[in-house]
Symmetry: C2
Subunit: 438 residues, 2 copies
């Protein structure tokens, strides 16, 4: 092998994690960055890391001399042979034949990506690409990628069609507060905060649809669970009601937990406190009515008037009572958007649900109103202008089937899965009231 | 079965396309809309359509009387039994026991979704949900959903990690013309036109990444191949060069063509003119250098100066010569963005490629410059401010590996696959200089 050919894809033969499956004596080439280097007498030990794991490599002679001059975190390629190791942390090691430097790292780095010296979140986010060299951090995003695939495969298997609805919209839908607005070819454009109206229109013909896409909220508040650009998993289905949607969501969440549990991700599901994992998966998520929640809270000394929203503190208490994952169903209609169907028996209630994880709202959904006249009444009752919904309402004149759906805050689900309390930890480049760079 | 229970998911037992596999005499319930109705003597023939296909149903007595009163396109459910049919268009038919109307369509519809009366594209887009009841139209979006899955599965299988980069950005990247801008919490925000800078930063740690997401261009031009919100398939990979990326793209496109050919989509691949499908799939896409293109065009009587861009008319001629799908490689560096790597032998050329389908640019990609000093020179040469790229350039000081990537215009690929000449046909709710609704 000549090093002038090293800049070709043919150079790397394996990822780090693949090496332990090879025979002793195999010739290999791995690429990555220098995580660590120690020089003990005539031997050098270099830890090369790539996205799949770490490789211990042993350097002698000229290679050792060269390795001493290369800054940590530099991008390198090593060629060599697999040999047994005495190290407790590795199953094999690589005796280095040649070492090639693609690109040197500067000596003073803004954060320590080995994680030995901790940095605060803001510094880490300012140097996100480097932060991701910490395997504890990159793991979050490997899980994220995996979970996205599980979700899409699940919906595809269940006959949902993936759609792409517009993020630029011409009128402020769903009430219209908290939208980013801008000049769109001399008209006023807005950034969509959800695909709600579009996904409802699409069940007219496509029956069951899903979309996973970014949405935008201009809410001027700074909390650990809100960001101004977030990823939402949306579904909408003809002929289903809100209980069907809850069944789908619950099955999906449990599928995700099972798949991750069985994967090599070494998940920490410590939020499952009083049960075995199998028991947790086999128990239904409690479905508690809003009215029952009020009664429960009253017993805990908290007085909620019917029609009032539930505060974080109340939700935390309910979360403790109901083992983290629980649905709150049949909310007062006044707390729900115009497109939610009223209850058949009691029009003060709605066919709605939220899936909570403790105080965190993960999913919101419900049966939709598909009667155009009732929809118009709801718009008027909420003080919204029917005129600005003309385009949407038209589709309810074309034989709109009954339908239901929901939206899952994907970043919040990731917080739960990764046991992290700040949503910014699970988003590569989060956007909030003070952060728009990098 | 009582009809008051019909509004439950348990009502529908099958999709239309599943009925032909059932035994004669099976009891079923299907839901959908009335596509057609004919009354012949004491018999009524109602065609019910759902997203999977059409069902012929036969009505007698009271059911016939009722069916006569229901407007076409209304949303209905029928229950009945499978029986043999004399119809040439159906394999079985349903003898209706009960018919239930979910929602009536108005008598005068804005377009005819059976496709018998053609409507122009603008009218169709204004009534998109109804337009999608035409199976020729919904088929486009079923294919779209299928192709998205093929693409994601391919990248996942090849160790690409799915990422979500921000659509709201704080500085005008890549030169910065044609960006939508807006007020972002008292700062200036822009809508991303590509994930270019983010995906490059991410190879520092995640090695190989892909993203499929919407991007935005404020270009004030109205053509059949430009829209202001489009879906892009982006990849970026450490240690690969532009030939590797071309290999990946070519393999992916051929995989898509093969998968669709073998599916039940009945594709029209008439763009494959002089070859069998198998021959086409087994032949490599030609990779023609920009300089060869100039020579070819000169022979066709067209004079292009080195460094000039190729016009649509020239690209059409090359497309005819090279059988539609072909790569143009090694473009003059002055025609490519600052992040593209110059050629090793000739710095006037670049390690770049475009995948063309005739005059249509489907993919643009190349080997990236990973040397921070050369990157800075390129920025300066292009008249861009190094200061506005500070956040991006920092990551090139942290041991950036050599890397390459590309971006595929997904909507344009859909134009090719569906044999359609206007990009608005393959986008549910297209956005252009004059269209922002519905």
């Amino acid at each position: 092998m000549t090093l002038d050919k090293l800049n070709k894809s043919s150079t790397r033969t394996h990822f780090s994690k693949e090496l332990k499956n090879l025979k002793i004596g195999s010739e290999i080439r791995v690429a990555g960055w220098i995580e660590d280097f120690r020089n003990i007498g005539k031997l050098g030990f270099l830890t090369l890391r790539d996205v799949t794991g770490a490789t211990q490599s042993v350097l002698l002679g000229d290679n050792l001399v060269k390795a001493k001059t290369i800054p940590r975190q530099s991008s390198i390629l090593i060629s060599g042979t697999i040999q047994p190791t005495k190290s407790k942390n590795f199953e094999i090691e690589v005796l280095v034949k040649e070492i090639f430097v693609y690109s040197e790292a500067t000596q003073t780095l803004p954060i320590d990506p080995t994680g030995r010296i901790e940095s605060d979140l803001d510094n880490r986010l300012d140097s996100r690409a480097l932060d991701l060299r910490n395997p504890k951090i990159s793991k979050i995003f490997l899980i994220r990628s995996k979970v996205l695939k599980i979700i899409r495969d699940y919906f595809t298997l269940n006959n949902f069609i993936e759609v792409n609805t517009p993020k630029i919209i011409g009128s402020a839908s769903e009430g219209g507060s908290n939208l980013f607005s801008f000049d769109y070819f001399k008209k006023k454009g807005y950034l969509a905060q959800s695909p709600q109206l579009y996904k409802e229109q699409l069940v007219l013909s496509l029956d069951k649809v899903f979309e996973i896409a970014p949405y935008f909220r201009a809410e001027n508040s700074h909390t650990v669970r809100h960001i101004s650009e977030f990823l939402s998993v949306d579904i909408e289905a003809a002929y289903l009601d809100y209980f069907d949607i809850m069944d789908i969501i619950e099955e999906l969440i449990k599928l995700i937990l099972k798949s991750l549990k069985e994967s090599d991700c070494q998940m920490d599901f410590s939020f499952i406190q009083n049960k075995s994992f199998a028991d947790f998966i086999n128990s239904p998520f409690p479905r508690i009515s809003y009215e029952q929640c009020i009664k429960d809270l009253e017993k805990m000394g908290e007085k909620i008037n019917f029609g009032d929203d539930l505060l974080d503190s109340s939700l935390r208490k309910l979360g403790e009572k109901y083992n983290n994952f629980f649905f709150i169903i049949d909310w007062p209609i006044n707390l729900k958007p115009f497109y939610i169907h009223e209850h058949d028996e009691n029009p003060l209630l709605s066919k709605s649900f939220d899936l909570q994880f403790g105080y965190l709202e993960l999913v919101s959904g419900g049966t939709r109103q598909h009667d155009i006249n009732k929809l118009k009444s709801r718009l008027q009752n909420q003080g919204l202008s029917i005129d600005s919904f003309t385009n949407h309402l038209r589709s309810f004149e074309w034989g709109m089937p009954p339908h239901s759906g929901g939206g899952l805050g994907f970043d919040r689900l990731m917080m739960v899965l990764c046991n992290l309390s700040n949503i910014r930890e699970v988003v590569l480049y989060p956007r909030d009231t003070s952060r728009i760079n990098p």
